[in-house]
Amino acid sequence: MSDNGRITLIFLCNLLLYFIVGELNFFLGGLSLHFHADALLILFFGLYLGRMAGLVSATLLGFLADSVSPVPHGTYVIGYLGLWLFLVWGQRRIRRQNPVHLRTLAAATQILWLLLLTLHLRTGMEPNTVYWQRILMEILFSGSLTYALAWPWCRFQKNLLYSLGWNIEAEYSQL
């Protein structure tokens, strides 16, 4: 399989995650909860894959999320590109083999995105105590879940690439 084929497979895995999270949110809606999985979706593209693959994937996922969210058009596209850039910046500042480093960066990315959304979508909202409680709850809930899932999700994608003949970890350690 070519590199492009493997990258497409990784993109499809993330697309599947996008729909699974949507299904999870269907059930969480009954509890007034929502899991924002934006950082998980672009984590692997930002930390492991090349520049063009990462950019294209982050943009496509941004378009997908944008079209179903009632936000000004372009919010998610621009946001995901920003988050991808943040992860690229974090590439050389963490040890990707260290689960704690990777989990912390993923959770920080997710929290950063939720804070940016809070600032961006403040128009028309009434920022009272209940509003801030809800924001805090979403940040803690999504941040914790992202922290828990980031390492297994990346390891799964790395193992998938390894089984397809691409040892991405060894490639990076030689750089």
């Binding site: 299904e23 007034s32 520049r51 378009f63 079209s67």
Partner: protein, 281 residues
Amino acid sequence: MPRNLTHQAKSLLLVVLILLLWWFTPSFVKRWTEVVFQEFQAPAWTALSYMRDLRSYWSERSRSKSELIEVGVGLSRLNAAYAVRNQQVDSMEREIRRLEGYFHLPSFPEYQYEVARVIKRDLTAWWQVLVIRKGLNYGIEEGQAVIFAGGVVGRIKSVGAYTSTVELVSSPHFRAAGHFEGDNRPVEFRGGNNPGLKAATGTVRTVPADLVTSIKEPLRLTSSRLGGVFPDGLTLGWVYNLEPSPDGLFQTGKVMLDPRLQSVREVAVLIPIEPRGDPGR
């Protein structure tokens, strides 16, 4: 690009380039991409909802025959009760028509009920929307009312070819005219900030100062025809407490919405039926 640029700097330059490109993209192209991506993923969401239906079908199949017979008996009782109520409604409608004709009153708008399954639910701090499994293919249009067994669900926000997005009454951006049961003076209803793990709420404003409510005798807030979207008398929520507004002329209060709203699986879209042209005129 110069060779001495780092990987991060090159990535930054590329993102800036894409952002500039996005900035200068005409709005019709942006709108087109939005529609394309929405329609692209709609079949996947629909397929997921069919899988959910299939799952519940198989779980229902595991029920014993005696349980099903019991449910059937209950349903036949309900059917009998609804048949009697239908007859009463028919006679009341005839009476309304007769009075409308007698007093030369304009008739109430009539609606066709299009029942649709909920396929996606996004209840966040900033927006509260549902996606339903019917769209333009069933004549659904933007702004139409959506209801369920517990009252008002919301209104159609956007329509796709096979799916529609509904803005819930609990959404912070939702506004509607309403009135209290037994009192025709209009009030303003707004969706509120919703706490997590609790039932959704809204707020009611411009409530006349003479209205009184208590925990034992709450007021039922219903929809009003004034907005032109909802028919009269559908439940919006219940108000247990009213407080005077700063100007002293009105009152404001918190509206407790139906807790089933957050887990609703089936809704009905009210599609207005165009009045038939009178050939005599």
